[in-house]
């Protein structure tokens, strides 16, 4: 085969791979076709990788094969993690993606000097800065999600100025390099400062904002890959990067809307320190609590139930008990649905995966808008491990830090039941006025044990 024919074949394989990638995402639009999407992506990726081995530039294969083997050995366990660990796994894979792209950019710089144009240097500097900061930023995010690092926002006075100066320093060094690409001493400095900026960027962000941060980092990683495509003049990278980048961007926008925050607010305004207004009036408010027997009786008498799950349900590992509750209520002819807030869980769509894992059919999972339109006709709203996303203060209390955030309006249901360990405020540290409403019954206890008790009561009750 002549080199030219080989070149055409490679290009052709890459074009087919790109087409398969787009089909892959298209098929993901519905659960019915989604698995074809994975297959299409796999075929596209395999074609591109295999074709690359015929590239005439390659002179040695030993290290490539060892690295591929190593990648497989790391990748398989990361593909088999528990569903509750998917957010930190995703953050790790962002870190790996950013690392790979940054290293390739770094290697290109050393390969090309001293013959490097200002234009090429600009592309490489931009790619390496974004790749490096996404790498460390994702590592910090993974550390927070894995609870190796504190989940609370870590802040200090003047921190935004410090972070911005560090970013400024990286940009300044990049400008020096663009003018004088041969000042090679500056290149590692630029990389190091970008790595530090990534740490500073994510450290102050609290656990409640993780869905947004993960999505934002996702779009950075996509952007890095696309920039790398510009550096290497590789269209398959440009397309894959643009697809990944736009996906991360769309998810970031959805997450921000779901929390009524802006990007700048997520990044620069640490969340969840305020707890001012509610403290004073707390004293004289009473709550009504109920036993598993009473809860079972109310649920058994209902026609329609909407369960609102939050991350606390997954922490308590209660999803399988919740499925039993779903089964026993469905058997009695009660209509049970699950109303899912976009930020339930630690990453976009996380709660759906956790419920699907527990064998709850996906046609029972409804989004926030649908849940809110059905809420007034709902007999019981059962809240398990969710707090802020049901807090009516988001609609009524202008002084509340979550004011304006869209919520699941459980207060419109006829009866509200909340399973909770205690009256402690939730993740954002905000008191929930829902607990003091007349139609609210507090079910104090561990979510898994309490749901188990309700199931036992309903199953043994005998009026089916």
């Amino acid at each position: 085969m002549t080199p030219l024919t080989l070149q055409y074949l490679t290009d052709f394989a890459y074009i087919i791979a790109v087409a398969l990638f787009i089909l892959s995402l298209k098929w993901l639009s519905s659960p019915a076709t989604a698995r074809h999407g994975v297959l299409a992506g796999e075929i596209g990726a395999a074609m591109a990788v295999v074709t690359t081995f015929f590239n005439p530039e390659l002179v040695q294969f030993k290290w490539i094969l060892i690295a591929l083997l190593l990648g497989t050995m790391i990748g398989i366990p990361l593909g088999l993690v528990h569903m509750t660990a998917v957010p930190q796994r995703t953050a790790m894979s962002h870190a790996f993606g950013a690392l790979a792209a940054a290293l390739i950019g770094i290697s290109e710089y050393y390969m090309r000097i001293p013959h490097i144009t200002k234009f090429e240097m600009t592309e490489i500097a931009l790619e390496v800065i974004i790749g490096s900061l996404s790498f460390t930023g994702s590592l910090i995010a993974a550390g927070k999600l894995q609870e190796l690092l504190p989940q609370r926002p870590i802040t200090y006075k003047g921190q935004n100025y410090v972070s911005l100066s560090v970013l400024g320093a990286a940009v300044l060094i990049a400008l020096v390099l663009i003018v004088h690409p041969l000042y090679t001493f500056f290149f590692p400095c630029m990389v190091a400062i970008s790595l530090i900026f990534g740490v500073l960027l994510v450290t102050p962000i609290g656990g409640a904002d993780m869905p947004t941060v993960i999505s934002l980092l996702n779009s950075y990683v996509g952007l890095t890959a696309a920039l790398l495509g510009f550096v290497l003049n590789s269209k398959v990278l440009v397309v894959a990067g643009a697809l990944d980048g736009s996906s991360g961007f769309i998810l970031s926008v959805i997450m921000c809307k779901a929390m009524n925050r802006s990007f700048t607010n997520v990044i620069f305004g640490a969340f969840g320190k305020l707890q001012v207004s509610a403290a004073a009036e707390k004293e004289d408010r009473t709550v009504r609590s109920a036993s598993p027997e009473e809860a079972a009786a109310i649920l058994g008498a209902a026609n329609t139930v909407i369960v609102v799950p939050g991350y606390g349900m997954a922490v308590a590992q209660a999803q399988h008990k919740v499925r039993e509750l779903f089964d026993v209520l469905s058997k009695k002819g009660i209509d049970v649905k699950f109303g899912i807030h976009p930020v339930a869980g630690r990453m976009p769509g996380h709660m759906n995966v956790l419920l699907a894992e527990a064998d709850i059919p996906y046609d029972r999972l409804i989004d926030m808008e649908t849940a809110n339109s059905e809420m007034p006709q709902t007999d019981v709203a059962l809240i398990i491990g969710a707090n802020d996303v049901t807090n009516p203060a988001a609609k009524t209390d202008e002084g509340s830090p979550i004011y304006g955030m869209p919520i699941i309006e459980v207060d419109n249901a006829r009866t509200v039941m909340v399973i909770k360990r205690s009256l402690n405020p939730g993740f954002a540290g905000i008191d929930n006025s829902l607990y003091y409403m007349e139609k609210t019954l507090m079910l104090f206890g561990d979510a898994k044990a309490f749901v188990g008790d309700i199931v036992r009561e309903l199953a043994g009750g005998g009026h089916a």
Binding site: A48, S93, G97, I104, S107, D244
Partner: protein, 98 residues
Amino acid sequence: MPAGFISNLYVFILAGFVGFEVIRRVSPLLHTPLMALTNALDAIVVVAAIIIAGREGTKLSAILGAIAVAAAFSNMVGGFLITDRMLRMFKLSGRKKQ
């Protein structure tokens, strides 16, 4: 400005729009698998890493390339694996475990 830049920019803009339109239609049910899948697709940077690791060049660039191959390929393998695992769990009611 290198000749390839403009055509790459065209591709970037068009792919961005295609991505936006296609991904906008992905059901919120599947946002977690979506992120896992796009990570796996993004791992296509492995093809660039393979060339860096295997081409004639300095030892440094070969080492950086090999690390990049391992990092990107672990994403590719792990990303497709976990996406498929998640999607297998989504079932409709009435259809019990196959």
